[in-house]
């Protein structure tokens, strides 16, 4: 029988069967509108309240500070555009990195098109945000910094706590100078289920997570909004979710997300331990058995489930199709799988040339991943790479590659 080894958990995860069970009553039986006053509606409202409490407990915040949205992308848009629009500044200025998810980068681009200012802070060769440049990017009209907790492609974990703590001090100085406060938003979609989401400890004002990366349902997200944060709604209507996100609440989805987060949180420690061992084994194995390979991202400061390696002289899509043919599902930063024909901006931001981005292979492990799966992969991968390299007229010089990474300009740019 053909194998089926799913190694693309950063794209999305299967919904946990326990999560599906938890959602089940809220489709047909307890279908009430949480805004309705009769008991059917109130039952749905209780489910919402319980879900909010579960999330709040894991975030270490008040339930009132949690709102549910239609997914990670929506939460990010609300956080970024909501802060800028509510600031009443024209232009307002926001800072993010050149390394973020497209939801952040494109929301920033839209604001820029509307006359606001955007600074993109670079990352170093291992994908860590250049914190000094972050502080030097701050201007009088800066209202928001948005930095992801962990990167979706290369898994690098950013020093959010350090950024949050320093920003707190900066904001005190700004208050004395009567300058607007700078809010800190973090996109924690990839971090959820693996890293600590304690908002107080991280000193953040806004945080996004979604259901589909934590074995929960797709199409549902969370935005943590710290009490006192001024934000303008993007979706107007009946005033649900404290007026920040109108529209009848997706009760089954919200119950599913909360349940998924609770399960993920309870498994976090043991899964992190297990996956870190598998991750480090796989990275070492690929780097030592296949010549001309390059790890993308930081070796230690990375998500326990993320492996991202550039395999030079071959093209990622071709590699994925060969892997698919032997039952392995993975991902690449090659332009050939993207809609816009540009290879991964994340791999490029590391300073890797196009050649490395085109040949990048992302493997993201999950709950179902076993050592045997990875052994199977490492047995098959070298011969596939060999075959594709024979097909290819390209031969990248590794020394040139390394020196071009070193020379890569790392400056603040404007979206």
């Amino acid at each position: 029988m053909k194998k089926n080894i799913y190694l693309d958990h950063a794209a999305t995860t299967p919904t946990d069967i326990k999560v599906v069970k938890a959602m089940e009553p809220y489709w047909t039986r307890e279908f009430g509108n949480p805004s309705a006053l009769y008991s059917l509606g109130q039952k749905a409202k209780h489910a919402l309240d319980d879900s909010r409490q579960i999330v709040a407990k894991i975030f270490n915040c008040q339930p009132e500070e949690i709102i549910f949205t239609g997914g990670g992308t929506e939460s990010i848009n609300l956080a970024i555009k909501g802060v800028v629009l509510a600031s009443n500044l024209k232009p307002a200025h926001i800072i993010t990195s050149n390394f973020e998810h497209h939801a952040v980068l494109n929301a920033a681009q839209t604001l820029k098109n509307q006359g606001h200012e955007v600074s993109l802070v670079p990352v170093d060769a291992e994908g860590l945000i250049m914190v000094d440049k972050l502080w030097s990017a701050i201007k009088k009209n800066t209202v928001l910094i948005s930095i992801m907790t962990a990167n979706n492609e290369v898994g690098t974990i950013q020093p959010i706590q350090e950024i949050g703590a320093k920003l707190k001090k900066i904001n005190q100085e700004r208050k004395a100078k009567k300058l607007p406060a700078i809010y800190l938003h973090t996109d924690a979609c990839q971090a959820a289920g693996a890293l600590d989401l304690n908002v107080e400890k991280l000193h953040i004002d806004l945080m996004t997570i979604n259901g589909s990366k934590i074995y929960g349902p797709k199409g549902v997200g969370v935005l943590y909004i710290k009490r006192g944060t001024v934000l303008q709604a993007l979706i107007d209507g009946g005033g649900q979710e404290k007026n920040w996100r109108s529209g009848t609440e997706n009760v089954p989805g919200i119950v599913g997300l909360a349940t998924a987060l609770k399960i993920a949180d309870s498994k976090k420690e043991s899964e992190n331990k297990r996956l870190t061992i598998l991750r480090d084994w796989l990275i070492k194995k690929i780097l030592t058995t296949i010549p001309k390979t390059l790890l993308n991202g930081h070796a230690q400061k990375r998500l326990p489930n993320n492996i991202n390696i550039s395999i030079l002289d071959i093209e990622g899509e071709a590699l994925l199709l060969y892997l698919d043919a032997i039952g392995i599902q993975a991902s690449t930063g090659s332009a050939c799988t993207a809609q816009d024909l540009e290879p991964s901006h994340v791999i490029r931001a590391l300073g890797r040339p196009y050649e490395a981005a085109h040949g990048s292979l992302r493997l993201t492990l999950g709950r179902s991943t076993t050592k045997n799966d990875l052994i199977y992969l490492t047995k098959k991968l070298p011969s596939i790479v060999k075959k594709l390299r024979q097909t290819s007229p390209v031969s990248v010089n590794m020394d040139t590659l390394h020196s071009s990474i070193k020379k890569y300009p790392r400056e603040i740019t404007s979206a």
Binding site: D313, E317, A318, L321, T337, Q339, L341, T391, S392, P393
Partner: protein, 232 residues
């Protein structure tokens, strides 16, 4: 570009399961593949592929286009039947995705089948000739197949040069459309292939006609031309 197959009419069993009463049902046991079976065949078992470039000998022309940075690169060797002015054999190496590999493989079959293709005919091969032989490509993958014919022409030019037939060398001229933005017809062709099929999208990609409105009618005409050429 993908052909739509009419679903076969099934004899309806007396009672359908709940799941099959709705339209969206996961396909069980069926292989789902982005590309046509022909592309798949040429991708997994490429024809006329060069396994070791250092061992290719006695060829008549060698051509190369693209770069690993742009995502596709092709190297083409040709052998010529000089008496009949035909291509005897074409071999190749390609860095690229399944469309690029499949397209080069198919091209090598097209020029060498039936006793070889006359050079004059081979010079006229267009990307869509290859695409249609492949049974179509997904729209956004068409750009991956456009290098094959260029690589072949480059190999034939190399043959013309080596065999002292300089008058036959075909140069790929680019025509300047917008002198201010330095946009050529090739730039617009590339942009259309990359999915910019409206004036607005072209301007976003190439800046053609931005601040130079008198060239707009020509830009629009070219968009129409290339749209029909590749997607028509």
């Amino acid at each position: 570009m993908l052909t739509y197959k009419k679903p076969k009419k099934k004899k309806t069993p007396a009672k359908k399961s709940l799941a099959t009463q709705v339209d969206i049902v996961p396909k069980k046991g069926e292989e789902s593949w982005l590309y046509s079976d022909i592309v798949k065949e040429h991708f997994f078992t490429p024809k006329n592929l060069v396994m070791d470039a250092s061992k290719v000998k006695d060829y008549d022309g060698l051509g190369m286009v693209g770069s690993p940075a742009c995502g596709d690169m092709m190297k083409v060797w040709v052998w010529i039947d000089k008496k009949n002015d035909k291509i005897k054999k074409m071999q190749w190496q390609t860095f690229g995705c399944a469309s690029a590999i499949g397209a080069t493989s198919m091209l090598s079959v097209m020029v060498s089948e039936n006793g070889g293709m006359p050079i004059e005919q081979a010079l006229k091969i267009r990307p869509q000739d290859i695409t249609s032989r492949l049974g179509g490509l997904p729209t956004r993958k068409i750009h991956c197949s456009v290098l094959g014919d260029k690589a072949l022409r480059s190999a034939l030019n190399n043959y013309f040069l080596k065999s002292k037939q300089k008058n036959r060398i075909v140069e790929e001229h680019a025509r300047m459309i917008d002198k201010i933005a330095q946009v050529t017809d090739h730039d617009i062709e590339e942009a259309v292939l990359e999915g910019a099929i409206t004036l607005e999208a072209i301007q976003k990609k190439t800046k053609a006609g931005v601040g130079n409105p008198e060239v707009m009618p020509e830009v629009e005409q070219l968009i129409k031309f290339y749209r029909e050429k590749y997607f028509g």
